[in-house]
């Protein structure tokens, strides 16, 4: 127990030192700036989103379903007076939907489309060199041709513009059909 207490004290001191050093050390200027990613979970699979491709992260946001809509469109939600169409990222990525999605992000640049997913697993700040690019593959349509590997977990990076494009393509085809 004494050992555990000592470990906790050390951790507190380390956290304090890290916090203090953040404000005492000058920000790095040389080299490429790091890439901020949002680690998420869709179904049972891990994914990542670029922080630069979204305008906000929200939890437990109520979504109003719309009648006769496509299966990937969960409904609409209100954000500061703006109506946002919320799409189910599980349907878009081909994952199985078992429970209601708790998390939601708004897509950049105009924040009129939101994507709902199951889990928010954290914020990742990685160098651009850590991102691997893959040519072709099934995820091309949704933009999942880049991956980031941290520890033993490999996360495909979902590109929000690709998702928007796919939604628009689907929307146009539905409009043509109708």
């Amino acid at each position: 127990m004494t050992q555990d207490h000592a470990t906790a004290t050390d951790r507190v001191q380390a956290m304090r030192d890290a916090f203090d050093s953040t404000f005492s050390v000058a920000p790095p200027t040389a080299g490429d700036p790091p890439e901020d990613l949002l680690a998420i979970g869709v179904g049972q699979a891990p994914y990542a989103l670029r922080l630069s491709e979204i305008t906000g992260l929200y939890a437990n946001k109520p979504v109003t379903r719309l009648p006769g809509t496509s299966p990937e469109l969960l409904g609409i939600a209100g954000f500061r007076g703006t109506i946002v169409a919320v799409y189910d990222l599980r349907v878009l990525l081909g994952a199985e939907a078992t429970e209601p999605s708790r998390w939601l992000v708004l897509a950049a640049p105009d924040s009129t489309v939101g994507f709902a997913f199951d889990r928010f697993e954290g914020h990742l700040r990685v160098s651009r060199d850590a991102i691997a690019t893959h040519a072709g593959g099934e995820g091309t349509r949704l933009g999942a041709q880049e991956t980031i590997q941290l520890a033993d977990v490999v996360r495909p990076i979902v590109r929000v513009p690709a998702l928007l494009e796919a939604i628009n393509v689907t929307k146009e085809s539905q409009e043509k059909e109708s």
């Binding site: 901020d36 992260l57 939890a59 928010f120 914020h123």
Partner: protein
């Protein structure tokens, strides 16, 4: 009926018959002899006496006549005295003779003698009166030749002679009668004696035959009995030997039993001592159990307190978990806020870089809080699990304590029962010790008795041998007796 008579009874009956015959023969002989003697006595006492008396009368008469004649011749008085004595003798003899007269003839002849004697006395007295001193011879001759004297004297002699003749006739007749009686008695005695001899012979024959049969049967039975007695004596001797062997084995076994009984007595004594020690240990154990039961009651109370504290700790941990949910929610919202701040700072361009640093730190703090809350949640889960496990373990322990308390109660009761049983065991061990000692004494007595029996068995063996020898001798004797009986029967058959 006589077939059922015993040997001695038959002998007694035979000898009794013989005695009866002898007595009968004797009585008859006595009667016959008495008759003969009476007849002879009558001849001697009556007939001969009367004859002698008659002859004495004749003698006295002759003596009186001689005295008379002497006086007449000499004139001497002495002759007168003789004459008087002769007359007295005559009277005495006559009186005796007259007393013995039985027949009328005798009395008549006696009367004639008396009359003749009286006449003769008168004639003699007359002659004596004539004889005076100085008388002449002629006168004396005249007196001598007096017809009265001679006549009376002849008459007297004739009367006496007649009487004698009669008596001689009676004597002859009585002698003949006596001889006849003697012959009759002899014949009777002879006949009776022959008859008795024949009856005795018949009795002896039948008695001998009967006794021979009985003796032969008895000898046969004695033979078979001797044989059986020999066989029995043999069996008895072999049985006595086997019994002696068995007695020796029994004696050995009883000695071992005696040793075992003594060992049992010593063991019982040790058991009694151990039981007393056990009783003491049981009492100490009972005290210890009572103390342990009291301690268990205290432990039960403390366990209840611990359970209450643990349940309270579980509730507190649940409350901590609830608070932690709030912290988690706050850290999550902080994280969301930090991320959104980072996005906003990135959108602000160069002006938002410093704010981006702050937002990044806020995000890091939120991540750390989230990590800490996860860690705390894990610790709380561990604590709750430990509390649940502890409560369950305490419950199990509490039940174990209850069971232990009950078991201690059972143990205390068992100790009571043990104490009672140990007391019973002590008493039983003492009784066993006492009984075993008594048994040892009894076994010793039995051993002595067995020794006596063994000695008696040896004596019985010797006695059986002697019995066997006696039976052999008895068999030989019965053989000899049988041969004697057979020989006697053969001799009788040949005779």
């Amino acid at each position: 009926m006589t077939k059922d008579w015993t040997f001695s009874r038959r002998i007694v009956a035979g000898f009794s018959a013989m005695v009866v015959l002898i007595i009968a023969v004797g009585l008859i002989s006595v009667v016959a002899l008495n008759s003969v003697v009476s007849s002879k006595d009558h001849v001697i006492n009556v007939n001969y006496r009367l004859l002698l008396d008659a002859q004495s009368l004749s003698t006295a008469s002759s003596e009186a006549n001689a005295a008379n004649r002497g006086f007449l011749l000499t004139g001497e008085k002495t002759y007168l005295t003789q004459l008087s004595t002769a007359r007295q003798a005559f009277q005495t003899n006559f009186s005796d003779m007259q007393a013995n007269n039985n027949t009328a003839t005798e009395r008549r002849l006696a009367g004639a003698i008396q009359q003749s004697e009286k006449g003769h006395v008168q004639a003699v007295d007359a002659a004596i009166a004539l004889r005076t001193p100085g008388i002449s011879l002629a006168a004396i001759d005249l007196v001598f030749s007096s017809p009265a004297d001679t006549a009376t004297r002849n008459q007297l002699d004739a009367a006496i002679s007649a009487f004698v003749a009669n008596e001689e006739k009676l004597l002859a007749s009585a002698r003949q009668a006596s001889t006849n009686d003697t012959s009759t008695a002899f014949t009777l005695v002879l006949v009776i004696a022959i008859a008795a001899a024949i009856l005795a012979a018949i009795f002896a024959f039948f008695l001998t035959r009967s006794l021979r049969r009985r003796i032969a049967t008895a000898v046969g039975e004695m033979k078979s009995s001797s044989a059986e007695l020999q066989a029995t004596a043999n069996q008895q001797a072999s049985g006595a030997k086997e019994q002696a062997t068995a007695m020796n084995e029994i004696s050995t076994t009883i000695s071992e039993l005696l040793a075992t009984s003594r060992q049992i007595a010593e063991s019982a004594q040790r058991v009694a001592q151990v039981a007393e020690q056990t009783a003491g240990a049981g009492r100490k154990g009972e005290v210890t159990v009572n103390k342990a039961q009291t301690s268990i009651t205290d432990i039960r109370r403390q366990v209840d307190v611990i359970v209450d504290h643990m349940l309270e700790l579980g509730e507190k941990s649940q409350r901590i978990g609830a608070v932690l949910e709030i912290v988690t929610e706050l850290s999550e919202q902080t994280n969301i806020l930090a991320i959104n701040s980072t996005i906003e700072a990135a959108g602000a361009g160069e002006a938002g870089k410093r704010f981006a640093v702050v937002a990044d730190e806020i995000r890091k703090l939120a991540d750390r809080v989230a990590d800490s809350t996860k860690e705390i949640r894990g610790l709380i889960d561990v604590v709750r699990s430990a509390v649940n496990t502890t409560v369950m373990a305490i419950e199990i322990g509490s039940k174990a304590v209850d069971a232990g308390s009950e078991q201690f109660g059972d143990v205390a009761q068992a100790f009571d029962e043990i104490a009672t049983l140990v007391s019973t065991t002590t008493d039983a061990a003492r009784e066993i010790e006492l009984s075993t000692k008594q048994q040892s004494t009894a076994v010793e007595q039995v051993n002595v008795a067995i020794s006596d029996v063994a000695q008696s068995t040896k004596e019985a063996e010797v006695s059986s041998s002697e019995t066997y020898q006696t039976a052999s001798q008895l068999a030989a004797l019965s053989e000899s007796l049988g041969r004697l009986v057979e020989a006697g029967a053969a001799g009788q058959g040949h005779g």
